[in-house]
């Protein structure tokens, strides 16, 4: 056995903070359509993150992966028409689970707004926050069933 380790790894330890750091929805021009922060950042830092994420994500094409290393974290993103949905997570987090987490969220938005478009997100921003809180809370996945989420959203809608 090779004691000194042919196997020296340079990735991080299983370091559990499986916490979504933030969720961003941006259009191609870099306008933010949703920003949900799960860690304390001050306003300047938030602005910097928004710009960096936009710069990193928009240069990638369909042949690239849906994952980008980003500072000490990674961004899992998917593009839908002109919108980029980005989730920033810990490097040890499960890439595909968050990639499909995005898609699940988008399918809920699509159903709720009947073919969602960018303007829906702009003018119904307060509803989008409600959808996010139903599905992701405290940086964790809260509910994954589309049926359950939509039922709850319709119930809330009826209270308006």
């Amino acid at each position: 056995m090779n004691i000194s380790g042919s196997s020296t790894r340079f990735s991080v330890f299983l370091f559990f903070l499986p916490q979504i750091r933030f969720i961003l929805i941006q259009n191609r021009a870099g306008k933010t359509r949703l920003a949900k922060w799960y860690m304390q950042f001050d306003d300047d830092e938030k602005q910097k993150l928004i710009e960096e994420v936009h710069a990193v994500v928009t240069v990638r094409d369909a042949k690239h992966t849906n994952f980008v290393e980003f500072r000490n974290f990674k961004i899992i993103y998917r593009r839908y028409a002109g919108l980029y949905f980005c989730i920033c997570v810990d490097v040890t987090d499960n890439n595909l689970a968050y990639l499909e987490g995005i898609h699940n969220f988008v399918e809920v938005l699509n159903e709720y707004f009947h073919n969602v478009c960018e303007l829906d997100l702009v003018f119904n921003f307060y509803k989008v926050y409600t959808v996010v809180d139903e599905m992701f809370l405290a940086g964790e996945i809260r509910e994954t069933s589309q049926t359950k989420v939509l039922k709850q959203l319709l119930m809330l809608q009826s209270l308006e």
């Binding site: 020296t8 330890f13 042949k63 809370l137 405290a138 964790e140 809260r142 994954t144 359950k148």
Partner: protein, 905 residues
């Protein structure tokens, strides 16, 4: 201009609207709830467009006490987005939250819980941390409220762990894993995982419940879970979370539970081989999310060779998948498999595929993973091929990853060099292909190695001489060439094609193209030439005497020229020979390149070590040299490069292990994980609610290097972070440590390196003391570092005959220590073998007449001595007992090794 106008128009419009809202809020007549909501919502919209809002907070707080959902919701949203630590408002907000939590209206309760979870402030934790557990476990709480309560508690636990009391509710939380509502289970699993990381013992029972739950999910028909089936995959996110929870624990000890978990993992691996139930990418992504998490768990357990090899084969298939995502993830995951003893060989079989990925992948991040994997799978058997492939990739590699590849090649070349001519060729190739990316560490190192190994010096001189013939060569090559020819040019001077004059002219032809530090180095090489080759003395003196040297505008160059010229003129041959004597060998030490690579890959919070050591030919050296010449002392000209200073000098500090008595006596030294590191070098040594400490260590002979990772688990900074190492005992371990930045950001991980030297055999391990400030409170932590005597083992292969001869020689009663003990773990042959190998000795097959027994041999390397060691382990499966016998030439060593190893089975 149009854009500016547009922007101006927007600002005008907004200012008008803000004025309007302000007047409404200040107006004489009270606004009704609807209008208040409308204007608060407008303010929020304006804020989200990127404009500052400095009023409206009070109106938003008023909305919280409305009975209408929409008004309440806007109020809470405003509070969550524009958190303000204005204390008057906080009291009002908390009051409203309190009322909503007590309202028994699930919609209002959820709004309040979401607000706490989103804001997570200390004031909120103080107010609600004791109330939320009650909501979570109360029998009549609605499912959706339970979900929110679980995650709300999780948030408070992360931000203010000291305020979240553990109590009677903890046991009941674990049972939420059995809940009928999978949404509740999903939220609860996150909470339990976080709590289990902090106090694993309190949540041990979650393992069996998690395995049971997982088993039900993976064996369910895809329609059973209805709402939770996603593109024909049963509850993928919950499965991933359960698998992550299980990664907080070692493999279950209970055999039935263990086999149930193994079945689950096998089922997941089997499903990967089944034809897809849908062509949609969502289907395969969801399925593979679970698969990759299962593989992570298999690697985490690192105990089931069959599963590890199956995982490796599955990843091997993905390496050629048409989805880039899958190829990327397979490369990444395989990297960790390469570090397992059980799967290292299996990983190596994919080398050709990985090499072709390096050449064909379009996404640079995928190529980067391929480089990582090649590096991880490299060992003596494939080092030459892997290094060659990396070198050829380097010619076209992206600029962003060149430096890292250079470091990796340099490390592999050194680590696996059997033949040092290969090493020299490799490093010179590195300089040729990517000279700009070859850092000082790399070319310092090649010089250290050449100086220390006389069998390669002639070859090195010949090779650099040839390389310097190229019309355009990199300045780093000139540096290496200057240094090596200055020291060993005489070894090739016999050949007329590389006579002293030819060598000198060659070096000097590069002089005018070089930067000042390199010129300074060349001048030193010239004076060394004068000593080595009297026949070129006049030529070199002419060069030194020229105006361009003696009157050089650069003070350093001018001074060197003056001093060297003078030295060569007045000193006798003897003095010259003594002053300019060949460099003595460098003390053997761990390569500094490794640290450099580590630092590059690290979180980037480390202090910059580069500046401090960038004194190549700098002033420190300079003054020493003056002293040497002025006093005509016989002490050799100092090292041209200051290679003798520790490369990471500067911010690094030598922790004086003997005089340091500052360690606070009141802190208990944590050693709960200590024994788990006897047979392994990597893992988490310590963890509490705030901090996780991980270790990676490497040992070679009597030297070791330990990488310590400090992870801030909170989202708040640690301030005044400091660490020191104390040895409670005698002069047995020296620890050299690099400094850590005093601030560790929330969620960040920083790294520290300890160098360890074993002077003589020892029992007591060093203790790592850590101090930092978290939220105003000073934290003191002491952890026993797993540096044990067996870490300094070098395995020794020997024949049966040799073994028994030595065994007999070590037959004195005090040399043998024997222990009979009960098995604590299942008596699995593969596991036992892995542990003995992990202990550090070579396993000798066919030595013991009884094939059930294990026999091993190794040598403990300490600075003062080497202690040979033989061991024999006899398992008795019926009795579930072992007998362990150790024979070494020193009784204290036999006893210590026996104590350590007998705890492992």
């Amino acid at each position: 201009a149009k854009i500016i106008n547009h922007k101006e128009a927007e600002i005008k419009r907004i200012n008008k609207e803000l004025a309007n809202i302000r007047s409404k809020f200040k107006g004489d007549k009270a606004l009704d709830g609807y209008s208040k909501k409308k204007y608060v919502c407008k303010l929020l919209f304006i804020f989200l467009l990127g404009h500052d809002i400095d009023f409206g907070h009070m109106e938003a707080v008023n909305l919280l006490s409305s009975n209408k959902y929409t008004e309440k919701q806007i109020g809470y949203l405003f509070i969550s987005v524009l958190v303000n630590s204005n204390s008057d408002l906080i009291r009002l907000i908390n009051n409203a939250i309190k009322n909503d939590l007590a309202s028994r209206n699930p919609t209002f309760m959820n709004l309040a819980l979401h607000c706490i979870a989103n804001v997570g402030s200390r004031e909120m934790a103080e107010a609600f941390a004791s109330e939320i557990p009650n909501i979570l476990v109360a029998g009549d709480t609605m499912d959706s409220v339970k979900q929110s309560a679980a995650l709300c508690l999780l948030r408070l636990n992360r931000t203010s762990p000291d305020l979240v009391p553990m109590g009677e509710w903890t046991a009941r939380v674990v049972h939420l894993l059995n809940d009928q509502h999978l949404g509740v289970v999903t939220a609860a699993t996150s909470l339990i995982t976080t709590l289990a990381q902090k106090s694993p013992d309190d949540f041990k029972t979650s393992v069996s419940l998690a395995v049971a739950r997982l088993s039900r999910i993976v064996t369910s028909a895809s329609i059973d879970l209805q709402d939770y089936t996603y593109y024909f995959v049963a509850a993928p996110w919950l499965s991933v979370k359960l698998l992550r929870l299980l990664q907080c624990y070692p493999p279950p000890e209970d055999a039935a539970l263990r086999s149930r978990l193994t079945e689950c993992l096998e089922t997941i691996l089997n499903k990967a081989q089944e034809p897809p139930k849908s062509k949609k990418v969502q289907h395969s992504n969801a399925k593979n999310a679970v698969l990759f998490e299962a593989i992570s768990l298999i690697i985490h357990h690192d105990s089931e060779p069959t599963l590890l090899v199956r995982a490796c084969n599955q990843l091997g298939q993905f390496l050629q998948h048409r989805e880039t995502n899958l190829r990327y993830l397979a490369l990444e995951s395989m990297c960790t498999l390469a570090s397992s003893e059980f799967s290292h060989e299996a990983v190596k079989t994919h080398m050709e595929t990985v090499i072709s990925a390096l050449k064909t992948e379009r996404d640079v991040s995928v190529r980067q993973r391929a480089v990582d994997l090649l590096y991880a799978m490299c060992d003596r058997s494939n080092a030459k091929q892997i290094v060659a492939e990396m070198l050829s990739y380097l010619e076209t590699a992206d600029y962003s990853i060149r430096e890292e590849i250079v470091l990796k090649v340099a490390i592999l070349a050194e680590k696996y060099a059997v033949d040092y001519t290969w090493y020299v060729d490799t490093i010179l190739n590195l300089i040729r292909i990517a000279g700009d990316y070859v850092s000082e560490e790399v070319w310092y190192r090649v010089i250290q190695i050449v100086i220390n190994r006389d069998d390669v010096q002639g070859y090195a001189a010949k090779t650099v001489f040839e390389a310097l013939q190229a019309p355009a060569c990199h300045e780093n090559l000139v540096k290496v060439g200057g240094y090596i020819l200055g020291e060993f040019g005489n070894l090739i001077a016999g050949d007329s094609r590389s006579s002293p004059l030819v060598q000198f002219n060659l070096l000097h032809s590069k002089f005018h193209l070089c930067s000042v530090p390199t010129r300074a180095l060349l001048l030193s090489a010239y004076i060394k030439f004068i000593n080595l080759f009297p026949e070129v003395k006049a030529t070199i003196q002419d060069v030194l005497r020229s105006d361009s040297q003696l009157r050089n505008a650069d003070v350093e160059l001018q001074q060197r020229a003056v001093e060297y010229l003078r030295l060569s003129s007045i000193a006798s041959t003897d003095i010259l020979a003594t002053v300019l004597e060949e460099m003595p060998p460098f003390p053997e030490r761990e390569s500094s390149i490794l640290a450099k690579l580590k630092k590059k890959k690290g979180p980037g919070n480390l202090p910059d070590m580069d500046d401090a050591k960038r004194n190549v030919n700098g002033s420190t050296e300079h003054s020493e040299k003056n002293e040497a010449t002025d006093k005509g002392s016989t002490y050799p000209l100092t090292d041209l490069l200051n290679l003798n200073s520790t490369p990471s000098a500067g911010p690094s500090l030598l922790v004086d292990v003997f005089s340091d008595s500052s360690s606070p006596a009141s802190v208990d030294v944590s050693e709960e994980n200590f024994l788990r590191f006897v047979c392994k070098n990597n893992g988490v040594i310590y963890e509490n609610q705030l901090l996780q400490i991980g270790l990676k260590s490497e040992y070679r002979q009597n030297l070791g290097r330990m990488y310590v990772f400090y992870g801030n688990k909170t989202s708040t900074q640690f301030l005044n972070f400091s660490s020191s190492v104390t040895s409670q005992n005698t002069l047995k371990t020296h620890i050299l440590s690099t400094a850590v930045d005093p601030v560790i950001e929330g969620g960040a991980q920083v790294q520290q390196i300890l160098n360890i030297e074993c002077v003589s055999d020892f029992t007591d391990a060093p203790v790592l003391n850590i101090q930092f400030r978290y939220g105003g409170a000073l934290q003191n932590i002491a952890v026993k570092l797993p540096v044990m005597l067996n870490k300094f083992f070098q395995p020794t292969e020997m024949t049966s005959q040799d073994f028994f001869q030595r065994w007999k020689q070590l037959g004195a009663p005090q040399q043998e220590v024997q222990k009979i003990f009960k098995a604590k773990h299942p008596m699995d042959t593969d596991v036992i073998k892995a542990k003995i190998l992990g202990f550090g000795v070579a396993l000798l097959d066919g030595v013991d007449p009884n094939s059930e027994n294990f026999v091993g041999a190794g040598v403990i390397h300490t600075k003062n001595s080497q202690v040979g060691c033989l061991l024999r382990l006899e398992p008795n499966a019926q009795a579930q007992m072992y007998r362990l016998t150790l024979r070494t030439s020193r009784d204290s060593v036999s006893q210590r090794l026996c104590d350590l190893l007998s705890e492992q089975f």
